[in-house]
């Protein structure tokens, strides 16, 4: 399962999938990782991702990876959320929002939710640009070099790597037949 997921990621990176979709998936995964789950806002963002053409698999992988680092960011996110939620200028708006139907279900009044949302939105664009540039660079320069390198040739003899290569082949075959 895990190997297949890695294989799909490698296939995606090497296939014709639009780098913009992959980058959108990575950035959205970051946003969902920073936002605590279990509230309406997270569900809405997840559905948006589900319905959009952002690469879903890449978003899940990205979310899983960033989720591991999320506890370390909890302190700054909490502080950011606390500052924003208690900002005197924004207080009337938040108070009005808190009184509206449905809005409290987003748990926007939680410091981690607000902090995570703001940080996710701010980091979305840099993450998107970085991921898009990374995918293009990978396809143009890194992938051919890796494929022809002695290290990869040697690694292919390792059972785990050979299993991964087979998985990649299978994934590519599935992708090809689908095409």
């Amino acid at each position: 399962m895990f190997l297949k997921l890695i294989a799909r990621v490698i296939v995606t990176l090497s296939s014709n999938t639009n780098p913009v979709q992959i980058a959108a998936g990575v950035a959205s995964g970051l946003l969902l990782a920073l936002l605590p789950a279990g509230n309406l806002l997270w569900i809405l963002l997840f559905l948006l991702l589900f319905l959009s053409k952002a690469h879903y698999g890449m978003a899940l992988v990205s979310m899983a990876v960033f989720k591991l680092a999320a506890p370390a960011a909890a302190g700054p996110l909490d502080a950011l959320g606390w500052t924003v939620l208690n900002a005197p200028v924004l207080r009337p708006a938040f108070t009005a929002l808190y009184g509206m139907p449905v809005a409290p279900l987003t748990r926007f009044n939680n410091t981690l939710v607000t902090g995570g949302l703001l940080a996710g939105i701010v980091l979305w664009a840099p993450a998107f640009l970085a991921a898009r540039a990374g995918v293009s660079a990978y396809r143009a320069r890194i992938a051919p070099r890796i494929a022809g390198s002695k290290l990869v040739t040697a690694l292919k003899k390792v059972p785990l790597v050979s299993a991964l290569a087979k998985a990649v082949g299978a994934a590519a075959g599935i992708a090809g037949s689908a095409e």
């Binding site: 014709n16 999938t17 639009n18 979709q21 605590p36 559905l47 589900f50 319905l51 959009s52 053409k53 879903y56 506890p71 909890a74 302190g75 996110l77 909490d78 502080a79 959320g81 606390w82 939620l85 208690n86 207080r91 938040f94 108070t95 009005a96 808190y98 009184g99 509206m100 139907p101 449905v102 809005a103 409290p104 279900l105 748990r107 009044n109 939680n110 410091t111 981690l112 939710v113 902090g115 095409e179």
Partner: protein
């Protein structure tokens, strides 16, 4: 040209190669076309921003969730409600027949039973069919606001067939059953026996303990001083013996200055010894004198206590002295507190549940729920405009019949954040039975501004009162009447409370009076037509409870027995006084026996001190004599000697 003529070999090979090349080219073109087709298909798929497939999947998922909700929502809500009640009351809860109609915002429950955490084999309460009307506006804000609820029936303290303790819960401490009060029997004057009354009341008298304590103090002081006095006395005797030689010196026999100096040295040495011994003897006598004052005070207190005991015993035979109240107070207190404690117990359990519910809330507006320390789950900032607590029960009413009583129960404003609710929590209970009505109205203000105070008022009208055999010891067995009264209870969160009661027992009738006073009191009560009583009960956490009862029973009884009672009482009082004096002289005064030892010790110590002082005085006299003799001898030697003149 012959068509079948054989072509040259070189031409054949070239054709073959050309065909292969054409074939390869065609394959390459096909491959390129397929790739182009694939790329075109992928490009087409990449166009737009929404995927049709996932959208369809989402619709199917929503349909699946709806089906799941229809079949599994109610059992899930039932489990959730049970978990919530168990958390609030700390005991097992059972919710049966829950049905939620989300579009009408109605919830109905077949029955609810919550066990008593302090008594797991009974239910704290059990409710029949419940109907709830939820606020859609609150639900859309993620809150639960039960605007109105009704229960078909409510039952308190019903027994359970299985234990209601939660798994892993600590064993509850059994409720302490108050021991039956000891009611002092009123005296029957016609068969009065002073000695018997004294024997009966002996355990309550304070004098024996006071005499015992005083005797012990004397004995302890004797023990403390005896050794030191003996040592001091021995030292005085020794000093006396050693001074004999000094005192025996014949001053007239001293002829020379040398002899005088030698005699003076002997006397001075003896005087030094006597002085130190005398100081110790005086210190011992002074110490014992100081103890004497304290010990005599204690002995006097013991005798005063005996006088107070005598007054107490006489009060038992004196009408209007409070004896009737003293006899009735424990029984009435027990009766009132037993009934009151049952109400207070249930009130306390619900107050505890309300406090737990409050503790589970989000806190006050703008408050830092995590207490300032950033938590991983973040902090909830509650904005002041929020109109809904996380949970709020606006009104729960129940009107039902239990036996021949009609009950009405009303609960208002129970919430997780009382500060967001405009009124305090309240509980109203009315019980009608025949022509009687009992009404209880309790309010618990758990808002921060109110400091968690609570109050309750209880009123009873035309309530039949039957004390049964509660006052049998006072000769008033089977006292019945009609109770009219009100009670106010006020308390704070830490457990302290004060209660006051004003009541009137109308038409009091004693079914089986006994004893002189019991019979007289029964007649007096019947003639009086009513007994008024007021009571105050104050409980201080960690302190001593106080109960004060005021009643006109004494006045009624004293008035009725005045003429006959005083004659009896005077005689009984004299007999009782005599019996008590015999008891004090015969048994208690003997406990002060160590006083004699102490007194003789004191006298002996004073004797030692006097003896040492006398010896010291004698030695001082002897020294003066020797010094005078020495001066005289010196003067004789200088006679006839001319002293040369010094100076110009």
């Amino acid at each position: 040209m012959d068509k079948n003529a054989k072509k040259p070999a070189s031409n054949a090979t070239g054709d073959k190669a050309a065909r292969a090349a054409a074939k390869a080219e065609a394959k390459s073109v096909r491959s390129a076309a397929a790739a182009a087709k694939s790329a075109a298909k992928e490009a087409k798929a990449n166009r737009g921003y929404v995927k049709a497939g996932p959208l369809l999947g989402l619709v199917l998922l929503a349909a699946g969730l709806a089906v799941f909700g229809i079949f599994f929502m109610n059992p899930l809500l039932e489990s959730g409600a049970e978990a919530g009640l168990e958390a609030a009351f700390g005991a097992r809860a059972t919710v049966e027949g829950l049905r939620f109609r989300p579009f009408r915002m109605r919830l109905s429950v077949g029955s609810v039973a919550v066990a008593d955490a302090a008594s797991p084999m009974t239910d704290l309460f059990r409710a029949g069919r419940l109907e709830f009307r939820l606020s859609p506006s609150a639900v859309l804000r993620g809150k639960v606001y039960i605007e109105e609820a009704s229960a078909a029936s409510v039952e308190l303290g019903a027994p359970r067939s299985t234990s209601g303790a939660l798994p892993g819960a600590a064993e509850p401490e059994p409720r302490q059953k108050r021991p039956a009060p000891e009611i002092p029997a009123l005296v029957d004057w016609e068969a009065f026996d002073a000695q018997a009354l004294l024997e009966r009341e002996k355990a309550k008298l304070a004098a024996p303990a006071a005499y015992e304590a005083a005797g012990r103090s004397y004995a302890r002081s004797v023990e403390e001083w005896k050794g030191r006095r003996e040592t001091s006395s021995a030292a005085v005797e020794k000093a006396r013996a050693s001074s004999t030689a000094a005192l025996a010196i014949d001053v007239k026999a001293i002829r020379t200055a040398g002899e005088a100096a030698q005699a003076l040295a002997v006397v001075k040495a003896a005087a030094g010894d006597v002085q130190s011994v005398g100081t110790e003897a005086k210190a011992v006598a002074e110490g014992i004198r100081k103890d004497t004052a304290a010990l005599d005070r204690q002995a006097k207190e013991a005798r005063d206590t005996a006088d107070r005991d005598a007054a107490y015993l006489k009060s038992l035979v004196t009408p209007g002295s409070g004896a009737a109240r003293a006899a009735l107070e424990p029984a009435l207190r027990s009766l009132l507190t037993d009934k009151g404690e049952t109400w207070l117990y249930y009130g306390g359990r619900f107050l505890e549940a309300a406090s737990r519910l409050k503790g589970s809330g989000g806190g006050a507006a703008g408050a830092d729920k995590a207490g300032g320390k950033p938590a991983f789950r973040g902090r909830d900032v509650v904005f002041p405009g929020a109109a809904f607590p996380r949970f709020r029960l606006g009104l729960l009413t129940s009107s039902f019949k239990a036996g021949d009583s009609a009950w009405y129960v009303e609960v208002r404003e129970v919430s997780t954040e009382p500060d967001l609710v405009p009124a305090p929590s309240s509980l109203k209970i009315e019980i009608r039975r025949g022509g009687s009505l009992v009404r209880a109205d309790a309010r618990a203000d758990l808002r921060e501004s109110a400091g968690g105070s609570w109050e309750a008022s209880l009123s009873a009208a035309h309530l039949p009162l039957d004390l049964g055999d509660s006052l049998a010891g006072a000769g008033l067995s089977g006292l019945t009447g009609i109770l009219e009264g009100t009670s106010e209870v006020r308390g704070v969160r830490d457990g302290g409370f004060s209660a006051s009661l004003e009541a009137e027992v109308r038409n009091p009738v004693v079914a089986a009076p006994s004893g002189t006073l019991g019979k007289t009191a029964a007649d007096a009560l019947r003639d009086a037509g009513a007994v008024n009583l007021t009571a105050e009960y104050r409980v201080v956490p960690g302190g001593k409870d106080s109960f004060v009862l005021r009643t006109d029973l004494d006045r009624i009884i004293a008035g009725a027995v005045d003429a006959a009672g005083r004659r009896y009482a005077a005689q009984a009082s004299r007999e009782l006084d005599a019996a008590l004096r015999r008891y004090i002289d015969g048994e208690l005064e003997g406990k002060l026996a160590p006083k004699k030892d102490f007194d003789s010790l004191f006298k002996a110590a004073e004797g030692d001190a006097a003896s040492a002082a006398s010896l010291e005085k004698s030695l001082d006299g002897k020294r003066a004599e020797i010094e005078a003799r020495s001066k005289a001898l010196g003067a004789d030697l200088l006679k006839g000697v001319t002293v040369p003149k010094i100076g110009p």
